[in-house]
């Protein structure tokens, strides 16, 4: 169940010609639900867990979840994307929190 969309946070990128996750997914896996205008992953099986959609989402509405066959609930990995750096927060299944911040683009 790789990209999990938070329906409260997702607004379907109404101001964009196409939702950013739909634009960016290398596997063409993100689409907008015609009924509620919100994003969903059309085929969780085909996701590469590259997290491009998670990084692109302006509302922080997408979370990468690992398939349960591979990893246990409820670990989290949340990026905060800056202009030249990125911060990641990791929470493991025991609740242990780690944070990492590093430059990902030269000034």
């Amino acid at each position: 169940m790789p990209p999990k969309v938070n329906l409260q946070k997702c607004d379907g990128c109404r101001a964009e010609s196409e939702a950013l996750c739909v634009q960016i997914c290398p596997g063409d896996l993100m689409a907008l639900d015609e009924n509620n205008g919100k994003a969903y992953c059309r085929s969780a099986r085909d996701c590469w867990d590259c997290m491009s959609c998670v990084k692109a989402c302006p509302n922080g509405a997408i979370e990468t979840r690992l398939p349960y066959q591979l990893g246990y609930y409820p670990a989290k990995l949340i990026p905060l994307v800056g202009s030249n750096k990125i911060s990641w927060t990791v929470v493991d299944i025991h609740g242990k929190v780690e944070r990492f911040t590093f430059k990902n683009r030269n000034d």
Partner: protein
């Protein structure tokens, strides 16, 4: 919003374009080709045809934490050839490796200038991670490259899937394809064409596919399906060394990079008994410096011998090293950090388990791909190849694919200058391709029944896994199994006429399986032909378990006859330029 599928062929809209240089695939190699073409000849129209979105397409979607081939101050091009040759079991194209290596550093240094952070040591030099490797923080490296492509004024067609070359006789004068968003049929005529579509994943069943959501938990970009190979095969291009498959040793259950740990942090590979596998059993092959196929095969042999599971031993690492390691992973495969969290694993107490991957065809790591000359011209006039789709140069990796992109652009520009005319589009071929491309959509409307692409994909992957040396068979194969695979590949190829697609995404998937079948068929012919075992792990012929230099110290090449569909397999001699023992670095 994506367009609806056409119900009739007459409803399909067309987009006709003319360009000077068409580049198929806007990954790393394609982007470098585009930039090089445009800065050498700003007057030329340079067009990229990309099935996804250039910002995150191809192998670099989630980033990289190292450049694995950079020629440092105390090293030389000749040394790189010697090392790469030994790593590849003595078999590579030295002429191609030399010309690639001459441009390696330029490509990497430019990327840094454009914004890619490269780590430095205390002397201000690039931080070494191994003999040829340097450490980078490359999570955004593809986005940075894509920005540069746009800045140079290249034209980018996102979400357009290439399906076949436009041919004038055997000459390539562009390509055709369809839009996954607009549903239109694209006919792009070009003076010169560069193919840069990457290698092929999804030919074999991955061992993680037992879970409903983990089919693509694989090493290689699963959206690189071998389309560039397939288009070349169908047009009669000569291909080389498909039998040198790439199987990687990866973290088990979650395909995380192992070099990051074993090279970067000197973590040895150990078996269930705690023995250092490479030092103990592969000392004669170089121990920890053994060729890559040995490293991929080693944990699998331990499993077979009853000494699995195997690990990279991280228990010596300090908390500071673990933090740096996790940052490396966040730059290349961020979800691996999530995996460790989801296992609740402290790697200073518990080592990281490793296992072999499913096999891939990928010219950037092994040598499979188009047979090309030093200008990166394929055997089809007008067509150039670079990156993972181009053969002969193993271990080119990210830097080498970029360098090769530049070489292909130079080759294409020179070819353009030599052209007397730009060829004629044969409208009957265009009409036939259009009918072929939309057939699964039309069938869905007319018949409403057939085979969906996923069913055929999984049938192919099971077949290849069991009969052509997949990971569940510990990479082993023999003549009888390979012949069985060929028989069923022929049935599957015939069955493609029953494919149905319910939307444009599924139409793309239909062509992905059609392309994979063409690649798999050529691959099995190559595996059958090489009656030796040159790269145990990558290619294990249990009926020919030894290396046989008298018969196979050469390249195995193939060409499919476009008229009859017959695949001819033959050899080409090895040409040594750099002296020395080819099996030692």
């Amino acid at each position: 919003m994506a367009a609806k599928l056409p119900a009739k062929l007459e409803e399909v809209g067309e987009v006709r374009l003319e360009t000077d240089i068409l580049i198929i695939g806007a990954g790393n190699a394609g982007c470098y080709a585009a930039i090089e073409a445009k800065r050498r000849r700003p007057d030329l129209r340079v067009t990229l045809m990309e099935k996804a979105h250039i910002d995150r397409s191809g192998c670099l979607a989630s980033g990289m934490d190292a450049i694995n081939t950079y020629i440092k101050k105390n090293e030389t091009v000749e040394n790189l050839v010697r090392w790469s040759r030994a790593q590849a079991g003595g078999l590579l194209r030295e002429d191609l490796t030399i010309t690639m290596a001459e441009l390696l550093n330029q490509a990497i240094e430019e990327w840094e200038e454009w914004g890619l952070p490269i780590k430095k040591d205390e002397n201000g030099e690039y931080l070494a991670r191994g003999r040829w490797d340097i450490a980078i923080q490359g999570s955004e490296m593809k986005v940075i490259l894509a920005e540069k492509v746009r800045e140079y004024g290249c034209e980018v067609l996102n979400r357009v899937v290439a399906t076949n070359y436009l041919l004038d006789g055997d000459r390539v004068i562009g390509a055709m394809g369809f839009g996954v968003r607009d549903g239109k049929f694209y006919i792009i005529k070009a003076g010169a064409t560069i193919v840069a579509t990457g290698g092929a994943a999804g030919l074999y069943k991955p061992y993680t596919n037992d879970g409903v959501d983990s089919h693509h938990q694989i090493w290689y970009c699963p959206f690189n399906v071998g389309t560039g190979y397939a288009m070349g095969i169908r047009a009669g291009a000569e291909m080389t060394t498909f039998e040198m498959r790439w199987c990687a040793v990866r973290t088990k259950d979650f395909n995380g990079p192992i070099d990051t740990i074993s090279v970067g942090y000197k973590a040895p590979m150990i078996n269930a008994k705690g023995e250092k596998i490479l030092a103990k059993r592969y000392a004669h092959m170089g121990g920890d410096a053994s060729p890559r196929f040995v490293r991929a095969n080693a944990p699998m042999e331990e499993w077979l011998a009853g000494r699995g599971p195997c690990y990279v031993d991280t228990r010596h690492m300090t908390p500071e090293q673990v933090k740096t390691l996790k940052i490396d992973y966040l730059n290349e495969r961020p979800s691996f950090v999530l995996f460790l969290a989801a296992r609740g694993q402290d790697i200073t107490r518990e080592p990281i388990e490793v296992y072999g991957s499913d096999p891939y065809i990928v010219g950037g790591h092994t040598a499979s791909g188009y047979w090309i000359d030093v200008k990166r011209a394929t055997t089809l006039p007008g067509l150039f190849a670079c990156g993972d789709v181009a053969g002969g140069v193993p271990n080119k990796f990210v830097g080498g694919c970029a360098a090769e992109g530049m070489l292909a652009a130079r080759g294409a520009i020179e070819y353009l200058g030599s052209l007397a005319d730009r060829g004629q589009v044969d409208e009957s071929l265009v009409a036939a391709e259009k009918a072929r491309v939309y057939a699964p959509a039309i069938r869905q409307v007319r018949e409403g029944d057939g085979v969906i692409p996923r069913e055929m994909e999984e049938r192919l992957q099971r077949l290849m896994d069991e009969y052509a040396g997949g990971v569940h068979q510990f990479y082993r194969m023999n003549r009888e199994r390979l012949e069985y695979a060929l028989k069923h590949l022929a049935i599957l190829k015939d069955q493609t006429r029953y494919l149905v697609a319910h939307d444009l995404h599924e139409l793309m998937e239909a062509h992905e399986i059609i392309d994979r079948l063409d690649v798999a068929e050529v691959l099995v012919h190559h595996l059958l032909f090489r009656e030796e075992t040159r790269w145990p792990g990558w290619q294990n012929r249990v009926d020919f378990p030894e290396r046989d230099d008298t018969r196979f110290d050469c390249f195995v090449n193939s060409r499919r006859n476009p008229q009859t569909g017959e695949i001819e397999v033959f050899t080409r001699p090895y040409e040594q330029i750099i002296p020395g023992d080819r099996y030692r670095p």
